[in-house]
């Protein structure tokens, strides 16, 4: 497989008539880890949901391509089959559907009819990945996210990522509500997958996660666009000094998207 490439150009997105993303550009290649940081309400999660094609988000202009293909024309499931993965901040609970059945359906949807994964191979792979993520075996037969703790849900998202082997993995606040041990396990999963065949976009408030998932690029988001990009040192500076210095430098008073542009 050639090195994947996700290209976002001047993306403008609105939700229920309100503009959230106001011209965002970013390129992510296989092997790279990008981190998008920023305070609440600056449009970070909107970016994640838009890339996955959540029906609530309306693309006003701009483009998103994966390996040259127009992502914005694809429905959510097609995007996933092409290799985009979003670890969600609030994963759904699907009653009555076991984790194993769900994952097998997802894998087979990607492999296509006539090319389904054999049950034994699937079970072996799932068991291996679950043990790597220190998940109890019983998780395979539990209903998708039903009654899971916050940490278990996030672990489950990473399990899905490892099973589906995406080209571009987007992690939307995967660290929220996690204690340090769970955080380490989640990071372990991401680091295991890192390589030229997968690009990673990490969305987070806090630098803490980036101690475990080392970014190559750090982007700061305010008012619905990327206002500053740099290397890992940018995240460290944010951790030490907060966001105020950037706001001052850029003359921003209200960093949220509600600010009229």
């Amino acid at each position: 497989m050639s090195q994947p490439k996700l290209t976002i150009e001047d993306l403008q997105v609105s939700v229920e008539g309100k503009k959230i993303l106001k011209g965002l550009s970013l390129e992510i290649k296989g092997g790279e880890v990008h981190a998008i940081m920023g305070p609440n309400g600056t449009g970070k999660s909107t970016l994640a949901s838009t890339l996955m094609g959540h029906p609530k988000y309306k693309v006003e202009s701009g483009s998103v391509t994966l390996n040259g293909e127009n992502v914005l024309e694809m429905a959510t499931d097609e995007r996933a089959r092409k290799g985009i993965f979003l670890a969600m901040q609030y994963p759904s609970e699907i009653s009555g559907v076991t984790n194993a059945d769900f994952l097998r359906s997802a894998i087979n949807a990607r492999r296509g009819e006539g090319n389904e994964i054999s049950l034994i191979k699937f079970v072996r792979e799932m068991e291996k990945k679950m043990s790597f993520l220190e998940m109890k075996e019983s998780f395979a037969q539990r209903y998708v996210n039903e009654g899971f703790s916050g940490g278990e849900k996030k672990r489950n998202e990473i399990l899905q990522m490892m099973m589906l082997k995406p080209q571009i993995a987007i992690l939307d606040e995967i660290d929220s509500g996690l204690d340090i041990d769970a955080l380490k396990v989640v990071a372990k999963g991401v680091n295991e997958m890192k390589g030229p065949e997968m690009g990673v976009l990490v969305i987070t408030h806090y630098q803490r996660l980036l101690n475990y998932i080392k970014p190559d690029y750090v982007h700061i988001m305010m008012q619905g666009r990327i206002v500053r990009s740099g290397g890992p040192e940018l995240a460290e500076k944010l951790e030490a000094e907060g966001y105020d210095w950037i706001k001052e430098e850029l003359g921003i008073e209200d960093e949220t998207v509600s600010q009229r542009s």
Binding site: G53, D77, A80, S95, V97, S105, A106, A109
Partner: protein, 433 residues
């Protein structure tokens, strides 16, 4: 108010029925008393379902000449639901009211387990039957139970002695060919016994208008555990009236698993009485409304003993122009201290023209209890579909997974694989139409 009756249902008919079956005098007495009540009472009123125009008694009553004997050839459409290749099964099959097939392994008989037709039990164990028959469900409760008591015909009797635990499910199958089906099921689980019972009822002819008026009575002794799983599958011209009751003693437990898969109108009334301390009940039911079907489905638990526990889960999927009422009733009597009850009614609305009504009802007469309820009615959650699609699953498949998952609470608890498959087929058929 005028009362309509089927004038063919008279003393002569009832007496003839009782005589043909060589019933004890007291059974004829009950039948005749019930007949009088049937004649006098109006059609029962349900709070939200009018059944005035439903057919409750306009059918020709049929008395089977006798059992068909113990046929080796089990009808083809039932065969798949019975694991014929193992000793570890126990089955009674009835066509209308006549016995077609009966198998009880010797090992169970040796332990004192009685599993036979109710007709036969009346001959061999009249005192046992007399003690329990129409005790949980009273013949004078309403016109429907009165009609049942007057004309009950067919059904089974199961008695499990103290400390006997049966590892495999006992099974009864009823196929309806004649219009009227009135089986009576009587289950007695003595102290510390444990059993699973599976009951499947279906109609064979798609054009006949069947009337099913069935009663199930389960008596759960101290520390005993009974799981009763049932699937009903009557055609769209049919009317199904089902009353199911359990009386649970100290530390006993009843579990109901109900797949209401009729295509016709349905009254399903399920009540568990937790009589003594630490008794518990778990009630799970699913219903899929299709066509112009109407249904009134009630799950009720009465807590009398202290430290009693109950859980009710009712799930419905509404399509086409179907209408259904889901009542969940938790009654906490005075003295039911430290009891705990939960109930949930969830309805998936898949058609704008369908109606589904979830009514969680808590009636609390004791202050030292916990009781909770949840109800929902709405379309498939779009965020759930999005979540599955975000993993590459196409929209149709995502919906299918969610809908089947919604019903899994009951499907996965049907203890016989063949019947579980049958239920899944019925679900597919109902969802596709």
């Amino acid at each position: 108010m005028s009362v309509t009756i089927n004038t063919n249902f008279d003393e002569n008919l009832v007496t003839h029925l009782s005589n043909v079956k060589k019933e004890p005098e007291w059974m004829l007495d009950i039948r005749l008393k019930a007949l009088e009540v049937y004649k006098q009472l109006p059609i029962p009123r349900f709070e939200k379902t009018r059944i005035d125009k439903w057919n409750i008694d306009q059918f020709e009553f049929f008395i089977d000449e006798g059992d068909e004997g113990n046929q080796v050839d089990i009808p083809e459409d039932i065969r798949s639901m019975i694991d014929v290749n193992t000793e570890n099964r126990s089955v009674i099959i009835q066509r209308n009211s006549a016995l077609v097939h009966h198998y009880l392994p010797k090992s169970l008989g040796d332990q004192g387990v009685i599993f036979t037709t109710l007709d036969n039990a009346l001959q061999e164990y009249p005192d046992l039957v007399k003690k329990y028959f129409m005790n949980a469900v009273k013949f004078d409760e309403n016109k429907l139970t009165a009609l049942h008591a007057a004309l009950w015909n067919g059904g089974v009797f199961l008695y499990v002695p103290k400390n006997v635990e049966i590892e495999f499910p006992l099974q009864s199958v009823y196929l309806a060919e004649k219009a009227g089906l009135l089986p009576h099921v009587l289950i007695i689980a003595e102290t510390n016994s444990n059993l699973t019972f599976v009951d499947y009822r279906f109609s064979t002819d798609h054009n006949v208008s069947y009337i099913h008026n069935g009663v199930v009575e389960v008596y759960v002794g101290e520390g005993a555990r009974v799981r009763f799983a049932t699937v009903h599958n009557f055609n769209k011209n049919s009317y199904d009236y089902s009353y199911r009751r359990a009386i649970v003693k100290r530390n006993g437990r009843i579990e109901w698993v109900m797949g209401e898969m009729n295509f016709g109108n349905t009254i399903s009334n399920n009540t568990s009485l937790l009589k003594d301390s630490a008794a518990s009940a778990d009630i799970k039911s699913i219903f899929i409304g299709t066509g112009r079907q109407k249904a009134d489905l009630e799950s009720k638990v009465i807590h009398e003993g202290d430290h009693t526990e109950s859980k009710i889960l009712s799930r419905g999927i509404m399509l086409d122009q179907a209408t259904a009422i889901f009542n969940g009733i938790t009654k906490m009597e005075k003295g039911a201290v430290k009891s705990n009850a939960e109930q949930a009614e969830n309805i998936l609305m898949l058609s704008k023209e369908a109606r589904g009504d979830a009514n969680p009802i808590l009636l609390i007469d004791e202050h030292d209890v916990m009781a909770g309820h949840a109800a929902s009615a709405g379309p498939v959650n779009q965020n759930d579909i999005y979540y599955l699609m975000s993993r590459g699953i196409p929209k149709d498949e995502a919906e299918r997974l969610i809908i089947h998952g919604f019903l899994a609470s009951v499907v996965s608890r049907i203890p016989i694989e063949g019947l579980q498959e049958q239920l899944e087929k019925l679900i597919e058929r109902k969802l596709k139409r």
